[in-house]
Every structure is written in structure tokens, then in C-alpha cells.
Amino acid sequence: MKIIVCIKQVPDTTEVRIDQKTGTLIREGVPSIINPDDKSGIEAALVLKEKYGAHITLLSMGPDQAELALIEGLAMGADRAILLSDRAFAGSDTWATSLALAYAIKKIDYDVIICGRQAIDGDTAQVGPQIAEHLSLPQVSYVTSIEKEENSLKVKKVFEDFSQNIRIKMPCMITVLKEINQPRYMTVGRIFDAYKENQVERWNIQNIDMDPSLTGLKASPTQVKKIQTKGAKTAGKVFEVDAREGARLIVEKLKEKYVI
């Protein structure tokens, strides 16, 4: 089985703080990580490889530094890593990003594409299904388990209040939830190998035969008009009191608002 896992390098948003005085994001010292859902995608591919045998290609679109995310994926056990990087992609929204990734995927042999459900910096959950659409592939999103059958996969998809077991023929695209597994750590030997030069292949827009007018800021249907940080709401009163007094204060407040 040939698997492509699409991954994104993201800033660890749980580490981001807001400067309460200026209302701006404090970006310094925020580490870059493999997007958590995507990392579970890599792990899911590795589990399939162990069970059924597979070749795993990692694909990421991003700036030069995204190479680190791919190296980490190789050190987890992936076989091949491709960084799709070109100035022409700058400013792409999900539509233009997914199209560029689809062009790259057309150059790779695959049976299944695995994406993480969504990235923690954008939270859109759009790129996976849009890749599938550009490639006219069937899809199942929100997957929490994968088994291989002869020419198909049997996956479990979760909704808010129900779940389904679904059979999907390959080639296909699935997006996985972080809950599907606990990603493994890199092995020391593999970290050494992965850091050896030229492990990550570099592709630019020529390598994928894409017309530059189809991607980047200009080809993106959506545009960012305005960015604002959320100023903290005016805080109410905070009391340092014992439990009994605290309980009384809360009851008073609930009465004031006619809750009780």
C-alpha cells in the first residue's frame, strides 16, 4: 500500500499569549510543531505499514523551516518526505493551497491520502476535503480507526451524536482525529539518519507543472480584510475570601441576575 500523509508545521498555539497592555500576540519563543492531527496521521500510516506493509510519503507545503517537521516525520518512520515550497504559493488560502497540494500529489503514486482533520493555527478543516475534490477522490473525514481490506479501507467516522463504520475504495482521502492514536517518539537512530543531508526533497512550482496564476494570493478567492486581537473583556471583581463567603457572593450575584 502506498500512503501519502499531508502535514503542516504550525506554531504551538497553546503557547501563544496576548500582551494585555498592547493587545498584540506575543510570538517570541513560540515553538513550531507538527500539527497534532497531522502527527496522528503519520502515526496512523505507520500502524498501517506495520500491519499490512506500506510505503509512506510525507508532503508539506510551507517555508524552508517546515523542513524540520518533515525531518521529524522521517525520524518517526516515514519513508520519503517532500517539501513543496515556492514564493508563488505565498498568501494562498485553503482553496489555492489544496490545489497546489493536489498538483503535487498527481506526481506521486498513492492508494490513500491521509490528512489531519484540521490545523491548530487556522482550524478550518478545509484542505483535506478540498484536495479530495481537486483529485475527484472519495473521502471520509473525522476518522478514528482504519483497517485495510483488499482494495478498500474500513474506517470509523465520528459525528457529534453518532458514529459510522464505512467502507471506502482506494484510492481515497481520509482525515483523522488526534484521538485515533498516540503518536510515537522518534528513534535515536532515525533522528541521525533523518538529519543527514538531502533527506527531504525540495519541490517548487515547476516540479509540479502548475501554472503560477492558479495559486498564491491572487488566485485565492478569500482575502483577509482585517486582523484584530481580542482585547480582554473588562474583568469583573475578584475576591480572595474563604469558601463560605465566596459561596454567599455567588448566591448574591445569581439573585441579582434573577437566576434564583
Binding site: T14, D123, A132, E133, H134, P221
Partner: protein
């Protein structure tokens, strides 16, 4: 693209087992507001099988001017390709300028597929929608960067302008319906080829579980409550107040409460009358899911906890001592 050829607002309705979901009504209410600014109509397209006049009536009551429905056994339950194909065809024929979809697991599977097929933009999980004065473009505002920033997105040169909105973000409204009910049937042309996945089984969770999105009062647990056993104290309090217990991601990850009761960026968005944050520190991802609550009361041992910046009333105390005291005080008021 002739932008002027596109007119009106289309809400993609969502039904599960024949029940129209709340998110649909909330979108209709918002669509009605936007339609007043654009001087246009609100249409709803409800995809399913066995839909009837009752469905039509309730959609009209919540703001739909024009009602479109499918009745096709291939569309009874959600499946990506049959739904995408049916809606794409409808949009190409009817040319709405705005399309609104609930950001549920269904909508978030469907919407990106639709936008890619229609070659137009899509903005996910919007928390505010408005019309720009001079251009009449849809202003779609959404949190990004884990809720740290709000980005306003436009889709100026493509139509329709598509957005998804999480349930609970807007409030549903009811309207007096004057005109007689008219249901327009939409034909779907689903072929064998479109049925490209096979649903082997569907398992529904127990329905007795109540939905935290609909609760007026939420008693919400954070890591600060210490252990799973202390959840029962919160349940006693919730019962006393007539509310439900919810929790932060940390508490869900620890297995103390179920994932369906998680509040926050990766959980649910709630806006109850009262949100009682018990031992929740207030990570930005959590705040994003509850900041619209009318009254926020926070209890935390740490006076520096960011939750206090967002609370209307903050108590610095040990939550496990305060909760039993609060239950006693409430029983005094309401014996």
C-alpha cells in the same frame, strides 16, 4: 464572473433522522438580518428523504422565505458525494450570492467539498457575519491562531460567498408567517457512481444525554477540581441550579467527563445564562467557547488564572471547599 447575476441568501439545512438541527434555525435568523440589509430573500435547501409540510412550516417560522427540499432515499442520511452533487447543481441553477452552512461534522465535511467544486471561497467557523456598506460584500469574521486573533475575511470576486457557523453562535428567531406555505421539490440525480462509500452501520449514542449547548446554566469543570470523584460535587450543584456539567479539554483528556460535554475551540461553543467555571484556568481555546455567556463566574485557587480576566465575578478559593458551601447556601434560599 458576473457577480450581479447572484442574488439572495441560501441556508443549507441540516436534518438528522428527520429532525432539523438547531444550527439551521440559527442560520436562518442571521440570514434574515443580512437579507434586510441586502434587500433580498432567504432560501433554505433541506436535503433528506421523507420530508414533509411540518418541516416546511418550522423552516418558514424561523425565517425561510423560500423552501426547497429533496425527497430521495439516496439522500436520507448524509454522505459526501450525493449531498455535494445535489447542492452544487442547485447553486449553479439558483445562483445565491451567499451560502451559509452549519459547522457541524456534516457541514465541515460538505462545505469545503462544495467550495472546491464551485471554485469559490469558504470561511469556516464564523463568529460574526455582516454586510460591508459600500461593496455589499459579506464580512466573515472568525477566530484563528487558537482563538488569539479575529480575522475578517471577504470573498470579493467569486460567488457564492460561503461560510460555516458553529451551532450556538447565533440565536434563533421566530417570525410571523403571512404567506401560504409553498414547498419546492428539488430533484436529485444520484447515480450508482455517486454512492462511492458504503455505510456499514450507524451507531447512535444514548439520547438521554443532554446537550450542553442548550443548557441555561453550566457548571464547568477544570483540572483544578483534582480528580474524577469530585465531578459528582459539580453534578449536585448543577442539579440544584437546574443546569448541566460541562468541562475543559484537560478534564476530557483525563477522562473525567465525556467529549460531548467539552467546551472550547475543539469542543462546543456555549452561551448559557450562567457559566460557572470551577477550577478552569482559562486557556484562550477555552475562552473562545464560552465568552459569550451572559454571566461568567470563576472559582480558582490561583489569583493569576486568566479566567478571571473574562469573569464577571471571580472567587479565589479552593473549588472543592466552595462547591459544597455553595450547594448549602442555595438550599437555604430554595429549601
Amino acid at each position: 464572473m458576473d457577480l450581479k447575476a447572484y442574488k439572495g441568501i441560501l441556508v443549507i439545512g441540516e436534518q438528522r433522522q428527520g429532525n432539523i438541527q438547531n444550527g439551521t434555525f440559527e442560520l436562518l435568523g442571521k440570514a434574515k438580518e443580512l437579507a434586510a440589509k441586502l434587500d433580498c430573500n432567504v432560501s433554505v435547501l433541506l436535503i433528506g428523504n421523507g420530508l414533509n409540510e411540518q418541516h416546511g412550516k418550522i423552516l418558514a417560522k424561523h425565517g425561510a422565505d423560500n423552501i426547497f427540499m429533496t425527497n430521495d432515499r439516496n439522500l436520507e442520511n448524509y454522505s459526501t458525494e450525493p449531498y455535494t452533487k445535489t447542492i452544487t447543481k442547485f447553486i449553479i441553477e439558483n445562483k445565491p450570492e451567499i451560502v451559509m452552512i452549519s459547522a457541524t461534522t456534516i457541514g465541515r465535511d460538505l462545505a469545503p467539498r462544495l467550495s472546491a467544486r464551485l471554485k469559490t471561497g469558504l470561511t469556516a467557523d464564523c463568529t460574526s457575519l455582516d454586510i460591508e456598506d459600500n461593496t455589499q460584500n459579506l464580512l466573515m469574521t472568525r477566530p484563528a491562531f487558537g482563538g488569539n486573533i479575529l480575522a475578517t475575511i471577504v470573498c470579493p470576486n467569486h460567488r457564492p460567498q460561503m461560510s460555516t457557523v458553529r451551532p450556538g453562535v447565533f440565536q434563533k428567531q421566530e417570525f410571523d408567517v403571512k404567506k401560504p406555505l409553498k414547498i419546492n421539490c428539488v430533484r436529485a440525480d444520484i447515480t450508482e457512481k455517486d454512492l462511492n462509500i458504503e455505510i456499514l452501520d450507524t451507531v447512535y449514542e444514548k439520547t438521554e444525554k443532554k446537550n450542553i449547548e442548550e443548557a441555561n446554566i453550566l457548571v464547568s469543570a477544570g483540572r483544578g477540581i483534582g480528580n474524577k470523584e469530585n465531578i459528582s460535587k459539580l453534578e449536585t450543584l448543577a442539579k440544584e441550579l437546574g443546569g448541566l456539567v460541562s468541562g475543559s479539554r484537560a478534564v476530557v483528556d483525563a477522562g473525567w467527563i465525556e467529549q460531548s460535554s467539552q467546551v472550547g475551540q475543539t469542543g462546543k461553543t456555549v452561551r448559557p445564562d450562567v457559566y460557572l467555571a470551577c477550577g478552569i484556568s482559562g486557556a484562550i481555546q477555552h475562552i473562545a467557547g464560552m465568552e459569550e455567556s451572559d454571566l461568567i463566574i470563576a472559582i480558582n485557587k490561583n489569583p493569576e488564572a486568566p479566567i478571571f480576566d473574562n469573569a464577571d465575578l471571580g472567587i479565589v478559593a479552593d473549588v472543592n471547599q466552595l462547591i459544597p458551601a455553595l450547594v448549602e447556601e442555595l438550599q437555604k434560599v430554595n429549601p
